[in-house]
């Protein structure tokens, strides 16, 4: 069923690329933005940019949920870890720099910081070690927040609380489209976020901003076909919302997941690393679940965080204003082994992805 090889058929890929060349304008630039780290991995790993006309550009937006966690929220997690609370988190959160240290640094200093595969693992740990206090550091976009919501509404153990860092993708796309100096011509919308939220939240982009928007999957042909659909819309002047990833994304999305998100969380304004505050872009626990809020439970207090270290260009990379190779620190002071900026930490960070291929 999952015919991976057929979704990577090089013969078909060459034909799609040729169609993109045929449809692309002869003058001017077409700038297409995706907002998903996994899309960037596919684009870079399979050399998709090299198949496109020179005036069709694919840029990576803020699609790595780990990269955009502000330093202040890493600082909160570090402070919790230093209070003899067991902090559980996904593996790629571990090395994200806070203002002064990462969770990995805190662990090196003796704090109990544990990597989990799922929020369910954190629940099990808390159930098995009742004498300890646990916190789950909940990072991720709409793909991940339903799983946190499942555990919150299922009455997790009393010795487990949550540091909620979940963010929403459509408000960040709105920020990008309103950045006049970015001059976008189309969006490839994130496939897995869309399995949850469906297509409706993207309607605003073609309707209000006249921006071709295509939800795409993660195989090389998915992305090439998404680019083809955008270039075709531009050529024909028929701007609309389309779904290329029909095998996983339905118009209504995952309604059960959406209901769980609404049950557990309120939507508030949120700070994104390097981007500042984005309106209605962050989830926070509803008041009925306040007992599970790690910040108030453990009296955490942090000052304003330092998001961008000296010389780091993550704030420009994360919105596609520069390529990682245009940052003076890339693969010099900032490497996957010793990252300076958050974009070099997670396997979905643009700099980290480029380091594995372009930077070799």
């Amino acid at each position: 069923m999952v015919e991976k090889l057929r979704f990577r058929d090089p013969h078909l890929a060459r034909h799609v690329a040729q169609k993109i060349h045929d449809l692309a304008p002869k003058e001017g630039t077409v700038k297409i933005c995706h907002v998903c780290g996994t899309h960037e991995w596919t684009v870079t790993h399979f050399g998709i940019r090299s198949l496109l006309p020179s005036n069709v550009e694919v840029i990576a937006g803020p699609g790595c949920p780990v990269c955009i966690v502000p330093a202040s929220e890493i600082d909160e997690a570090v402070q919790l870890a230093q209070k003899d609370v067991v902090v559980t988190c996904f593996g790629d959160v571990l090395r994200v720099p806070g203002s002064k240290m990462s969770l990995l640094d805190a662990r090196a200093d003796g704090a109990d910081v544990r990597v989990v595969y799922s929020v369910g693992d954190a629940v099990k740990m808390a159930e098995n070690e009742t004498s300890k206090e646990f916190v789950f550091f909940a990072v991720g976009f709409e793909t991940t927040s339903p799983s946190t919501a499942v555990e919150i509404v299922s009455k997790p153990p009393e010795n487990l609380s949550f540091l909620i860092s979940h963010r929403l993708i459509p408000p960040a796309m709105k920020l990008l489209v309103e950045m006049k100096d970015l001059n976008l011509n189309g969006f490839i919308a994130p496939g897995h976020v869309s399995t949850i939220i469906g297509l409706k939240p993207y309607e605003i982009f073609p309707k209000t901003y006249y921006m071709p928007t295509v939800v795409a999957g993660f195989e090389p042909l998915d992305i090439l076909f998404g680019i083809y659909m955008i270039v075709k819309q531009l050529k024909e002047g028929k701007i609309r919302l389309e779904n290329e990833y029909v095998r996983a994304v339905h118009w209504e999305g995952n309604v059960k997941a959406q209901e769980l998100i609404q049950t557990a969380f309120d939507v508030v304004d949120g700070s994104w690393r390097g981007l500042g505050t984005i309106l209605s872009s962050k989830l926070m626990l509803k008041s009925k679940y306040a007992a599970y809020d790690a910040i108030s439970k453990h009296h955490v207090k942090v000052q304003n965080g330092v998001d961008i270290q000296h010389g780091c260009r993550c704030h420009l990379v994360v919105v596609g204003k520069i390529r990682p190779t245009e940052c003076p620190l890339f693969m010099k002071a900032c490497t996957p082994q010793k990252p300076v900026g958050a974009c070099m930490v997670s396997s979905e960070g643009t700099c980290r992805i480029w380091a594995r291929t372009v930077g070799k």
Binding site: R6, D92, P146, V150, H192, V193, I196, K256
Partner: protein, 77 residues
């Protein structure tokens, strides 16, 4: 982080399913977010099945690509 991997449901018990990621990799995942039966393919993210994959749509996508690009006869196998 938003990576989701397709897997086949091989057994079910309440909100838990054992899924096969292929090549012998089996794992228990939470299926609270989806309605599944044994034999379905699901997308798994961070220990949770987040969506059921549509086999019919998958094959139709491939067919559509071939037709739209008018290269059907050469690439269909």
């Amino acid at each position: 982080m938003c990576l989701a991997i397709p897997a086949k449901v091989v057994s079910l018990k309440e909100d838990r399913a054992r899924v096969d990621f292929g090549e012998g990799v089996l794992r228990e995942v939470n299926v609270t977010l989806v309605s599944v039966k044994i034999g379905d393919y699901v997308l798994v993210h961070a220990g949770f099945a987040i969506q059921v994959l549509d086999e019919k749509e998958a094959s139709e996508t491939l067919q559509l690509w071939n037709e739209l690009l008018e290269v059907g006869a050469e690439t269909k196998q």
